[in-house]
């Protein structure tokens, strides 16, 4: 275990909702700050706690994932950690050199060349002249901008700007690193490169990482802080649990039909084999059979269609598709009705929330006739907390030589 590099102790911050009041309070804060008068810590009219009573510690080699919905107070907390604004209560103590990847390319002037802007930005994020000069070649090489380094930055593409910004920031050798969602831009190759660089820093740095992207969080964080309305909703080492709580707030049973040719009507979709419910969402155990029942009424033709059923994870990313029915499948329409169920044995999806999209096609054509998203959501439970979408059954065998 490394030493504690970030220690946040009961930090709170209040903001005023009204601009005029905020300005007046600001003025009075400046005044009492100067004369050293003790301020009243309670809320004044129209104020609210943007961040309330947050405490945590991060050691060298650890990464705290900071998550929460928009307006939960992440950015405010980040600004406090970065020393941009001071907390109204509590304290933040940091040890060592602090690096912040909050905004890339701060202080770039569009008219100046990439070369000149490297000097500007590097100076702003705390390099001295000597450091910049020794690292200059590395920066240009990392950004892959050798050919364009003497071109004005205003002619750069946004991806190029981000690359240059990150390349400069990546040369920091901080003890404490604060990362905001800056890495979401650029092409895949560059994102991977950024991650590699962060991975390199991680073992000897205490990191606070803010992101809305749970895959990224689960990849790097070993501690998680979930904020809700400025307060700690979850703080702990079970990253998966924190992420689950975060996702649970988004559980959404609204399905959207976005194509309907009027040929059929979906009457009912239901998950069978369900023993419990969580907030009206059916819960099944990992390894159970997944059985989905469909009831469809045909209004025009009675031609048997093709069903394409997709499973999405909580980020609406498709993780699987069921084999479609064939002409040989045991499906028949009776009295304009089709009742059937789909069976998938021993589901191996890892724990979490999933939803199902249904598309209906005419056989032998690519013309969809009906499409509905999020027709059904369900939760898979398992003791083990894994991030990848599948927890695959496996046995291990020794091979004797």
């Amino acid at each position: 275990m490394g030493e504690v590099l970030i220690k946040v102790d009961g930090v709170s911050k209040k903001f005023a909702k009204d601009l005029k009041k905020s300005l007046i309070y600001g003025l009075s804060d400046v005044f009492s700050g100067i004369i050293g008068k003790k301020q009243d810590k309670s809320l004044r009219g129209d104020e609210f706690w943007a961040v309330k009573d947050i405490s945590f510690e991060v050691r060298r080699g650890e990464c705290l994932g900071l998550i929460g919905h928009n307006g939960a107070g992440k950015s405010t907390l980040l600004k406090i950690l970065n020393g941009l604004i001071s907390p109204d209560e509590g304290s933040v103590t940091m040890y060592g050199k602090i690096g912040a990847l909050i905004e890339l390319g701060a202080g770039f002037n569009p008219i100046l060349t990439g070369r000149e802007n490297i000097y500007n930005n590097a100076a702003i994020i705390g390099f001295n002249k000597q450091e910049i000069e020794t690292k200059f070649e590395d920066i240009v090489a990392f950004a892959e901008l050798e050919d364009f380094i003497d071109m004005p930055v205003q002619n750069y593409s946004s991806g190029m700007k981000v690359r240059l910004g990150f390349a400069i920031a990546a040369q920091m050798e901080p003890d404490v690193l604060i990362i905001d969602e800056v890495l979401a831009v650029g092409d895949l190759g560059f994102i991977l490169k950024c991650f590699k660089q962060i991975d390199k820093l991680l073992p000897h740095t205490a990191v606070v990482f803010v992101s809305h992207s749970m895959p990224m969080i689960s990849r790097v964080a070993n501690q998680i802080l979930l904020l809700a309305r400025g307060e700690t909703e979850y703080l702990g080492n079970e990253v998966g649990k924190g992420i689950d709580i975060y996702y649970n707030r988004f559980v959404d049973n609204e399905s959207t039909v976005f194509l309907d040719d009027g040929i059929l009507e979906l009457k009912k979709v239901q998950l069978l084999n369900v023993k419990e419910y969580y907030k009206e969402v059916p819960v099944i155990k990992w390894g159970d059979d997944l059985i989905i029942f469909f009831k469809i009424i045909f209004k025009q033709s009675e031609e048997l269609p093709l069903f394409r059923i997709i499973i999405n994870d909580k980020e609406q990313k498709p993780v699987g598709i069921f084999q479609t029915n064939t002409l040989n499948s045991d499906l028949t329409i009776e009295d304009n009705q089709l009742n059937f169920y789909l069976l998938h044995e021993k589901i191996q999806l890892s724990k979490g929330f999933y939803s199902i999209d249904l598309s209906v096609f005419k056989f032998n054509s690519n013309n969809p006739i009906y499409r509905i998203n999020n027709v059904l959501s369900f939760q898979v439970v398992h003791d083990e907390d894994v991030w990848p979408p599948f927890l695959l059954n496996a046995s291990y065998f020794n091979v004797k030589s």
């Binding site: 600001g26 003025l27 941009l84 933040v92 500007n120």
Partner: protein
């Protein structure tokens, strides 16, 4: 391992002296940054223009020419000046311009760099240094113009010109301190930044900038009450070979400036996080 320790806590738990020390250290640490930013701004400013540095003196020239024309054409009658009127006006308007620039210096610098203030933690004192460097750059160009005028009108300064630099420096520090003290208010409320140019314009006519102090009348009384009169008059005297008229004024100026600028540094440092909060 001995690691640097940073503590961020409620802004009012420091002593005056601690803040002052931190502020001075901030200046020291951020000099390279300020220099770099100044280079950035100056380069960018002139790279986008054909006439380049000419723009630093152009407004000055136009303004002076107007007054020179008004006087020479007999449109206005001004009290006779000790030095040729064109030189008098040019030096006067230049010095007056300096006062305005100095008062606005901190606010302007902070405003122009809002985007980095709200995102990056750096020593904010860099912004004052940045303003000063840019100011001195422009000043050098203007002083070049004044020297040309002095040579043209064959004005020979006396040995007392040696006082010009320290007294000018004192005035600059004084007005920058005033501007820095006003900055928190003028950043929160734009009333101040609207008021300053109007006040300066009005004050200019109550100061011997484009005309000398009349020998009698109401205006003479007003001008003598106006402390700016002594600053402008003496600085101009030094440049044009005359003596300081008000040594006592300058002596007290040293003390007032020392106190004001100390307070300004503390105000600046204490108010910056609070202002950052309202900028973002």
């Amino acid at each position: 391992m001995n690691l640097e320790k940073h503590i961020y806590t409620s802004s009012n738990s420091y002593s005056f002296l601690d803040v002052l020390k931190a502020s001075l250290k901030g200046f020291q640490n951020s000099f390279y940054l300020a220099n770099q930013l100044a280079k950035r701004d100056i380069k960018a400013q002139y790279r986008q223009s054909f006439l380049g540095v000419f723009w630093a003196i152009f407004p000055l020239l136009v303004n002076s020419l107007v007054w020179i024309f008004l006087q020479s054409s007999g449109t206005i009658q001004v009290t006779a000046t000790k030095v040729p009127y064109p030189a008098f006006v040019l030096i006067g308007t230049t010095l007056w311009g300096i006062i305005g620039e100095c008062i606005n210096l901190t606010t302007q610098s902070v405003n122009a760099n809002k985007s980095i203030i709200t995102k990056i933690n750096f020593d904010k004192e860099a912004l004052i240094t940045l303003g000063l460097i840019k100011f001195f750059f422009n000043f050098l160009i203007k002083i070049g113009l004044i020297i040309l005028f002095l040579i043209f009108f064959k004005i020979v300064p006396s040995i007392e010109i040696l006082f010009f630099i320290p007294l000018l420096f004192l005035s600059i520090v004084f007005f920058v301190a005033i501007g820095t003290l006003l900055m928190p208010i003028s950043l929160l409320y734009n009333d101040i930044s609207r008021l300053i140019p109007i006040a300066l314009q009005f004050l200019m006519y109550a100061t011997p900038v484009v005309y000398a102090i009349p020998h009698q009348g109401v205006m003479r009384g007003i001008m003598l009450l106006n402390p700016l009169t002594y600053i402008i008059t003496d600085l101009r005297n030094l440049l044009t070979g005359y003596s300081i008229e008000n040594p006592v004024f300058w002596f007290s100026g040293v003390f007032i400036t020392a106190i004001l600028s100390t307070i300004a540094l503390v105000v600046y440092r204490v108010s910056m996080p609070i202002l950052t909060e309202r900028m973002s």
